[in-house]
């Protein structure tokens, strides 16, 4: 019976599933709804009227664009750093044996297990000890710490499934290190890197805690939203931005999901 996918679920289970989904997504729908409200000081229910004017208002606000542009740059650069370092780390840990390999593997994953506030405080004290002024790069460094983990995790899982003899076979057939990377390694781990990169981008894009410690006076998009909630001014603008953030982060996560789902067929070894 268990393998019978067409069998209908019991009624109680359907209710539970629907309840779970509502709990997760109803607040999101409310955010979307108030992006269209005509009232700007408080969120009364139901909204007195619906309008599209906040989209135009948001479009005109320079501070939104500034924050958005900073977030996109931070997320892009952190993801790129993470892609390079995370892949190198994963390659070293999965393809070679050396003293302290297990320890390094654990240390790389640790930053994502640590509460963001610890990472933030640690980075902040490190920056102030080293007399590094807050800048774009301090935010990038903070974000890279957890972006590396995401890339590393994706890459290491894929590396494990790519048989080591593939690389030897490539060399044996006359390919040098660069050709082996380009024709054998990259095609086999490419989707894992893309998925890891997308997740890293999404994580960085809505990161608040580490950014508050390493950003100084700069506002990334999530920080800007937090400030808007405290000092309300044209409140629905925040909702419009929230909608955009949801869409911008949801698309890469969806992409990552589809890319890694088919991973089994891509990385099956020659056994």
């Amino acid at each position: 019976m268990r393998s019978d996918k067409s069998a209908s679920a019991p009624f109680g289970l359907k209710i539970a599933a629907a309840g779970g989904l509502l709990f997760l997504h109803l607040p999101l729908l409310l955010i979307f709804l108030y992006a269209f409200t005509t009232e700007e000081k408080s969120y009364q229910f139901p909204p007195p009227g619906l309008t599209l004017k906040w989209f135009a208002v948001t479009w005109e606000r320079a501070d939104v664009w500034q924050a958005l542009w900073l977030s996109v740059r931070v997320a892009s650069i952190s993801t790129m750093i993470a892609l390079v370092l995370g892949t190198l780390c994963a390659a070293a840990v999965s393809q070679t044996r050396f003293f302290g390999r297990e320890t390094i593997s654990l240390l790389v994953i640790l930053p994502i297990a640590l509460p963001g506030i610890i990472t933030g405080i640690a980075l902040r004290s490190a920056f102030s000890l080293a007399d590094i002024p807050f800048s774009f790069w301090t935010i990038v460094l903070g974000h890279a710490t957890f972006c590396i983990v995401v890339v590393y995790n994706n890459a290491v899982a894929r590396f494990r499934r790519v048989s080591g003899s593939l690389m030897e076979a490539s060399m044996d057939l006359g390919a040098n290190g660069f050709q082996t990377f380009r024709y054998i390694i990259l095609p086999n781990i490419g989707t894992a890197l893309l998925a890891g990169g997308m997740l890293a981008f999404a994580l960085s894009f809505d990161e608040v805690i580490v950014t508050t410690f390493t950003g100084g006076q700069q506002s990334t998009l999530p920080i800007w939203m937090l400030q808007e909630l405290i000092r309300p001014r044209q409140r629905p603008v925040t909702n419009v931005v929230a909608m955009v953030v949801v869409i911008v982060t949801f698309l890469p996560i969806l992409g990552a999901y589809y890319l890694t789902r088919d991973g089994d067929q891509i990385a099956g070894s020659g056994k």
Binding site: S165, A169, S170, D172, L173, N176, G268, G270
Partner: protein, 333 residues
């Protein structure tokens, strides 16, 4: 004539482990050379030293007269058929076979033609569009062979290539490999732990144990005149007689090997040595019977033709064999 592969006092140590220890060997051009031994005996490490995946800790390696130490795998005129075949899962069969030509910069049409010819040679014409995952184990093995041979290597290295195949397919591939080697005239160096495979295919065999070559010779030499107890034990299932027992037979007190099939049950012919013993057990193997006989406390295996009559368990029995079949061995293990 220059040797195809020459090892001079080659060692490869991993920390305290002497995977390969002071090995000398010379593989002749056009030879089918087998490296036989149990797992961990150093045979695969020797193959990897030839391929360039390992570098020797000490000693000197030449491939067709050219020094091989320090030369990376991609600059050696040898190719390998891997134990797990190592086909590239993201490439089609044709792209797999053409890979070596592609990285060397051959034109697209030229490499397609060469790859198709190679596939036809291993009896897989028209399989080019498939993916490795869609082929059976035997077919992947042939693709791996075609992928190596398309580069026209001077030496083809095969790492237990038949290990993953079932018995029938293995026998068929043995024949094919042998005839392929003859028609191409390429030097084959073949690693196996299966003594039957080594005996039936190779021109010469190097028997490995503990990182050293125990014996190097033709299959017949290795089988009939094992130099050490290890070789006698590993190649075939020889009886190894202790020195005291051998002394009683009137020979020098050394370990000696005696092939089970060289012994007959009952007295037969003149001038043969005769032993009295008791049948311990017997088993029917199809073409023959294996009879375990105990003589003066020493167990002796006898391979007797299926047609011969076999005494029952516990019965007294006479064994006879020719003195020349008793082969004395060196004292070293």
């Amino acid at each position: 004539m220059t040797a195809a592969v020459l090892f001079e006092n080659v060692s490869r140590h991993f920390g305290a482990v002497r995977a390969v220890d002071a090995v000398d060997l010379a593989v002749a051009e056009g030879e089918f050379f087998a490296m036989l031994g149990p797992s961990g005996s150093g045979k695969t490490t020797c193959l990897r030293l030839m391929a360039g995946f390992e570098q020797p800790t000490a000693g000197h390696i030449e491939i067709f007269g050219e020094t091989a130490e320090g030369v990376p795998p991609y600059r050696r005129s040898v190719n390998t058929v891997f134990q797990d075949y190592a086909l590239f899962p993201h490439l089609s069969i044709l792209e797999n076979v053409a890979y070596g030509l592609m990285v060397k910069g051959a034109a697209r049409e030229e490499r397609r033609k060469a790859a198709e010819d190679a596939l036809a040679m291993v009896k897989l014409p028209g399989y080019g569009v498939r993916r490795p995952g869609q082929l059976s184990g035997g077919q992947r093995q042939r693709v791996a062979l075609a992928r190596a041979l398309v580069n026209k290597p001077k030496v083809l290295l095969l790492d237990e290539p038949l290990g993953a195949l079932d018995l029938k397919l293995r026998e068929q591939m043995q024949e094919e490999l042998k005839s392929l080697q003859k028609s191409l005239g390429i030097t084959f160096v073949f690693v196996t732990h299966d003594q039957g495979e080594a005996l039936s295919m190779a021109d010469r065999i190097a028997v490995f144990n503990d990182g050293r070559i125990q014996q190097l010779g033709t299959p017949e030499e290795v089988y009939k005149q094992p130099r050490t107890r290890f070789v006698a034990d590993f190649v075939g299932s020889s009886n190894i007689l202790p020195p005291e027992f051998v002394a009683q037979l009137g020979a020098a007190p050394q370990f000696a090997s005696l092939r089970p099939e060289a012994i007959s049950l009952g007295q037969s012919g003149h001038g043969r040595l005769v032993l009295d013993g008791t049948v311990l057990s017997r088993s029917f193997l199809g073409a023959a019977n294996r009879v375990l006989v105990i003589v003066n406390g020493t167990r002796i295996n006898v391979m007797s033709p299926a047609a011969a009559s076999i005494p029952a368990e516990g019965d007294p029995v006479q064994l006879s064999f020719d003195r020349t079949d008793l082969h004395l061995m060196e004292a070293a293990s």
